[in-house]
Structures are given as C-alpha cells and as structure tokens.
C-alpha cells in the first residue's frame, strides 16, 4: 500500500513524514529533475510506504514540484492521500485540499499545529470541518508526535475500504457550478478511460491545462463545447476562468472556516513574535549586518573551529590506522606495489572521502536550523534585489558563500532552493567561489613570485572568481536559462523552533548520502591517479614519478597550455593530480621539481615566470573542482551528461582566462 503525503510548504510536512516513518527513509531524486523525493515505510503498518511529495500550494502544470505531485498521484495511484494542513492558517491551506478532493482518491486531512491553535485560545471543530469537506480530519501535532498513530490508523482504514471523499459542491448554484457540471458530464467517459475523476479533469480543462485536453483525447466538437461553456461562465461572472475558480474556492473555504474555526484574535502569538523578530532580522539597517554576521559565524565555526577540529581528529585516526596497516604489510613482506596500492591508493581514497564528512555534518547542522526556523525565507527576501540581477533568487547567496569554504557541502546545500532553474544555475556558479583548499596554492605562488603583493594577489584571485561567476551567470541567464523564472511570490513563514529530530535525521541523511554517492567516484579517481603515477606506459612500476604514466600524459597535453604560458609538463601534471584534491597541485610540483612534497620558491621559479605563475593561478582558480565536488555536482544535477558538460565548460573557461592573462601580460610586460 502507498500513501502520498501532500501539503503546502512550511506546514510541518517533513516533521510529519519523520514521525510517520522514523529513520526508515529512502532519499532520492524524482526521475530527470533535481527535485528531491523521499519515501519510507509507515511505522506499525505492514507493507505500507509513504511518499513525501514536494511542498506545493496548488496543482498547476507550472513548477516541477507541482508537475511531480500531479503525475505521481495520477500515475502511481496511491491508495490514500494524507493531506497535511496548517491549522493556524486554514484559509490558505485548504485551497490545495479542495483541489486534491476532486481527485476522488481516499484522503485524510492531518490538521497540524492544533497545539498552537489551542494555546492561542482558538478552536477548530474537526467534525464540522470533516462534514463540510466530506473527508475525515485528524488533529495532530507533528512536532510533539500527537495524533500520529490515529492518523495512520485512519489512513489505513480509508485506504483498505477505499472510502473516497464524498463529493461537495463548492457553490450550490451559479455560473462556476454550472460550468464545472456541464464540462464534467462531457468528459466523463474520457476521464473514466484514463482512470481519473471526471471532476478533476473538468476543472483542469476549465483551467486551460493543455495536457489534459490531450490526455482526454477530446475531439474538435467536444473541445468547442467546453470552450463555449467556459466563455459563458466567464461572461456571467465577469472574470476569467482561473480567477473565477480561485474566487469560488476561497469563498467556499471562508464559509467552511466561519462554521468550524474560532479564533480569539486576528494575530496569533507566533505571528506577533515573528513580526518582532523580523524588526531586526529584516529591518532596514539591521538585516544585512545580521546576515553577514550569521554567515561569518557559521563559516568560522565550520571551517575554523568545530569542523577543523573534527577533521584533524579524523585525520589522526586515519593516519594511525594507515601506519598500523603499513607496518603490518611491511613486516609481512607484502609486495611493494600492493603495499603502495593499499596505502597510497585505497587508504588515501578513503581518507579523502572521510575528510569531508565533518564539514558536511557541521555545516548542514547550521543550515538546517536556518531553514527550519524560517530564516532562509528571510534571506531570500533580503538578498533578492542583489541576486535578481544575475538571474537568481535571494536564497542562492547561501550556497555561493559556503563555496568559499568548500564546494562539496555548498553544492549539496542547493537542494533547498525553490526552483530547478535556480538549483542548476547555482550549482554551476558555486565552483567559481574559490574554495579554501586552493589557499595553500595561492600562498606558495604569491610568496615565490609576488612577495610584496601577496595580499593583493589573494584578493585579485577571489575577486576574479566572483567576476567570472557573474559573467557566466549573465551569459546563462540570456541563453540556456532564458525565459521566465519561477515567480518570486513566496510565503514568509512564522519563526518556529526547529525539531531536533528533523535536524538529526537530515544530518544523518546528508552524511549517508555523501558517503554512498561520492565514495565510488572519489575512491576510483584516487586509485586511478595512483595507478597512473606509479606505473610507466609499459606498466612497469616507476621509482621516479617523472617517468610515470601521469607525467607522460602531462607531457602529451602540455603543448595545449603553451598559449597560457605554462606548457611545462610538470605544471600540467600537477594540475591533473589536483583533480583528486587541490592540495596535490603543490605537492606534485614539489615532487616533480625534485625538492620533495614541500615545494620552494627556487623550485617554482624553474617552472614558472611571474607572468606564467599569474596565468597558472588563474587557471587553478577556475578549472574543474576536485573529484569530491564533481561527485556532489553529479549527485545534485542528477545527470552524468550535465556534469561532464560542466567540467568541460570549467576547463574551457579556465584555459581562455589563463591564455588571456598571459597574452595580454606578454604585450604589456
């Protein structure tokens, strides 16, 4: 049996999903899009799955979230729909409910946040509400786990007995009523043929949803009759079909609420509290400083204090384990190549995967708190004007800022963005925010070639990254992602305390997801690079890495980089090994110049001139991020093709920029 969990954004849907399933969840993407889908087995019910559908306000064929919800319900035909509604804001939440009910699929309404309504001295008469809507209504508090077992029981009952919602007319008479009835009658047989309720099909046809005209395979004659019926309704109401339908729904909801809902004051305590908090968090003079402060604090804690401490601890553990294994292999007299594979390949691979974990966990802890409290919606509100210029909405600023720390969690955090377009574009831009692993490269080069201007070089690099990012955003905005973005008409939810359980589950899920999805890619890449750097082209193990296959590849493709000024094979080889981790650029340069892992200024000066050093830094700034970041990009874009395209784009842009710097520099110097 399958239940579909449907509801508005910010109504506690995820909390209810967690309460229904516990930690027994499976997270994935809906096919072909970056929209996340979760499913889990329902506690205490055998063979029963609940699918958490995206938070939506209406079933329209416009956003991916709405299309996914509609298609899931129509095609997967869940046995029951659990529609969660926010009892503190029934007026807007029931709008979606009315659309769901026309589907005639067994539905139960989970009336969430009833504790808040009661605390404000209000009441919702669930019996009257249930009678008016024609479906069972169960009061719950998802956060406190109240009423959840009643809800499961009721969902099970209506699903097994197939108790569909009793049909309710939105208005007893009038033009809209007549139009829905006549169109329903007309499409009845066609709707039965595709197994969807006639009323739902009729309303979709009246709304002008082209895909339903096709699905129902209506002939020209029938289409004209429907259009005539709509035109009649429009002229009688003086409104277009969509406005008339919306008005009818809201009028019906108002009449239902008047009967069933009693509130003591216009504003709830939570609302008043939110307004007070907003005086500071979105205040004219305080909003931007507060946002900067929040981001700096998160940054400092993640990359400065907690994250690094945990990473160091983990690294110590791994290197201790590596030493033990290494000694074991040596004393056992294991073949040198096998030992190298285990230590430099396998352990190095596992180590580099695990080193990202503390960062991801710490960062997602803060991000999920920001999201669940409702602050993220405010960030979108405050930053919208700035980011709109490059075709993004305000929330995208957060992943981009995190990108300055580490691209991996930054890319992972794009999943909270509200549209497919924003997610894809932000994923493309984030790598241009120079990550902290590149700092050692900049520092070594700056002190070797521009010792007086080290700070200026750093600044120029960060600034160039942002600039290239903005340019690429502008190009994408007017090409690939042209067209109308998803409208920025967004709810600002009341501030609420995040549920510790939801935060913990999210951390667990992110960590698991990263290990599962990134492990193979990072691991394979590390072993492949180990293989290329340990053997020569005849598959003989090499003593000097200058003879390795990696160096041979470097020599082969080095001429490509002659226009950029660093056609030296050692520079190119270090860039290739930088794909495993950016720190490797420096250590490889050291090894190849014969001074060991700690490269020095003199060694670098044998490979680079100040000008080619500058173009090399530009290339390092802009080219493909490390393999872990690529794995995260692959995971979030949900497409190998797009990921490869992204890598190619990054390399081409980096090459172009480096060549530009070198060629222009050669003219002036």
């Amino acid at each position: 049996m399958t239940f579909a969990l449907v509801g508005n954004q910010n109504c506690g849907k995820t909390t209810l999903f967690n309460a229904l399933t516990g930690s027994n969840q499976h997270v994935g993407n809906f096919p072909g899009v970056t929209v996340e889908g979760k499913s889990g087995s329902v506690r205490g019910l055998k063979d029963c799955t609940v699918v958490d559908l995206p938070g939506i306000y209406s079933i329209r064929p416009y956003s991916d979230e709405e299309i996914i919800t509609r298609d899931f319900i129509l095609e997967s035909k869940p046995e029951a729909i659990i529609n969660i509604v926010d009892a503190t804001n029934l007026g807007r939440n029931l709008y979606l409910t009315l659309q769901l009910l026309t589907l005639r699929i067994p539905t139960v309404i989970a009336l969430n946040l009833m504790d808040e309504v009661r605390a404000n001295g209000g009441t919702v008469d669930t019996e009257k509400l249930s009678a008016a809507l024609g479906v069972p209504v169960i009061p719950i508090s998802a956060a406190k786990n109240e009423g959840v077992s009643d809800l499961i029981q009721k969902a099970n009952e209506i699903a097994s007995k197939r108790i569909a919602p009793r049909p309710r007319d939105l208005c007893p008479s009038g033009p809209v009523h007549r139009c829905i009835h006549s169109v329903s009658h007309l499409v009845e047989d066609h709707a039965a043929a595709i197994g969807v309720s006639a009323r739902f099909c009729a309303i979709k046809a009246i709304e002008g949803d082209e895909s339903f005209y096709e699905k129902l395979s209506l002939n020209q004659n029938e289409r004209e009759t429907i259009e005539h019926s709509i035109a009649e309704m429009e002229s009688e109401t003086g409104l277009d079909a969509n406005a008339a339908l919306a008005l009818t729904r809201y009028d019906f909801i108002e009449s239902v609420c008047a009967k069933a809902v009693k509130i003591t004051s216009e504003e709830t305590r939570e609302r008043r509290r939110s307004n007070k908090i907003d005086k500071v968090l979105t205040g004219k003079y305080t909003a931007l400083p507060v946002f900067a402060g929040v981001m700096l604090l998160i940054f400092w804690l993640t990359f400065g204090v907690i994250g690094t401490a945990l990473s160091d601890l983990l690294e110590m553990g791994i290197s201790a384990l590596t030493d033990v294994v290494d000694q074991g292999l040596v004393s056992f007299g294991t073949n040198e190549i096998v030992r190298s594979l285990v230590i430099d390949g396998v352990f190095a691979g596992i180590g580099s995967v695990l080193s990202f974990l503390p960062l991801i966990i710490v960062l997602f802890f803060f991000l999920s708190v920001l999201e669940d409290t409702g602050y993220m919606a405010r960030v979108a509100f405050v930053m919208d004007k700035l980011l709109r210029k490059i075709g993004l909405s305000g929330k995208s600023i957060v992943p981009m800022l995190i990108g300055f720390g580490c691209t991996v969690p930054a890319v992972m955090s794009t999943r909270t963005l509200s549209s497919e377009r924003d997610r894809k574009m932000t994923i493309l831009l984030t790598p241009y925010m120079s990550c902290s692993a590149k700092i050692p490269i900049y520092a070594v080069f700056a002190s070797a070639f521009f010792p007086q201007y080290a700070a200026l070089v750093m600044f120029a690099l960060y600034f160039s990254g942002i600039l290239v990012g903005i340019l690429i955003a502008l190009i994408f905005k007017s090409t690939t992602f042209r067209g109308k973005p998803i409208p920025f008409v967004m709810e600002l939810p009341d501030y609420r305390l995040p549920s510790p359980k939801s935060v913990c589950l999210l951390l667990w899920e992110k960590a698991k997801d990263f290990i599962k999805k990134a492990f193979t890619v990072i691991f394979v890449a590390t072993v492949v690079i180990w293989f290329f750097s340990s053997f020569d082209v005849r598959f003989n193990p090499v003593a000097d890495s200058a003879d390795s296959m990696l160096a041979a590849i470097g020599k082969l493709i080095a001429p490509i980089f002659t226009p950029c000024g660093f056609g030296d094979w050692r520079a190119v080889t270090s860039l290739i090994s930088g794909f495993t981790a950016k720190e490797a650029v420096i250590s490889t340069l050291g090894v190849l110049t014969g001074v060991g892992a700690e490269v020095n200024a003199a060694a670098l000066q044998t490979v680079f001139t100040p000008l080619s050093a500058a173009s090399f830094l530009i290339f390092t700034l802009l080219y493909t991020p490390c393999v872990a970041a690529v794995a995260a990009i692959r995971r979030e874009l949900n497409s190998t093709f797009l990921t490869v395209a992204t890598i190619v784009l990054q390399c081409v842009v980096a090459w172009g920029a480096a060549a530009l710097v070198f060629q222009l520099g050669s003219i002036f110097i």
């Binding site: 416009y62 409104l239 969509n242 406005a243 907003d278 205040g283 004219k284 509100f381 967004m490």
Partner: protein, 77 residues
C-alpha cells in the same frame, strides 16, 4: 492604483489581478484575488521586494510584480 503604490503600513483591497501565465496563477493560488484585503507590512532593506500581510499570513513579492495588481487604497482610519 496598483499594489506598488501603497505606502508601507497601509492597506488596500484588491480590484483586479493582472500579469500572465505562471505569475498570475501563482497570485490567484496564494489568495490574491479580487476583494481580498492586503496590508503592505514592509520593504526589504534594498527597497525591493515588499512584504504583504493577507489572509492571516505573510507573503513577499517584487515591486515589478506588485505593479500588476490593481487595488483601491483603504481610507486611513
């Protein structure tokens, strides 16, 4: 007069909802329909977008979108 012209802190009643396609339907779905009373609560620090209060919840939209909504300002009490 459009929603864009309403001063912060003032209220208005919606007369007509313009815009087209996804934007217009989004307006309607969020409860922005003729006859609804809307209060403009505040503007973002950079002056745009604005925050509205209607039907017991808060909504934000850009000024360029607010311009599509025709309203009648409520007389100040």
């Amino acid at each position: 007069m459009t929603l864009k012209d309403i001063r912060i802190g003032s209220s208005a009643v919606i007369k007509a909802v313009g815009g087209e396609g996804a934007l217009r339907l989004r307006f309607l779905d969020m409860g922005i329909i003729p006859g609804t009373r809307v209060t403009v609560s505040k503007a973002a620090p950079l002056g745009d977008p604005i925050q509205l209060s209607l039907r017991g919840y808060s909504l934000t939209m850009r000024l360029s979108d607010a311009e599509m909504i025709t309203v009648e300002e409520e007389a100040v009490k």
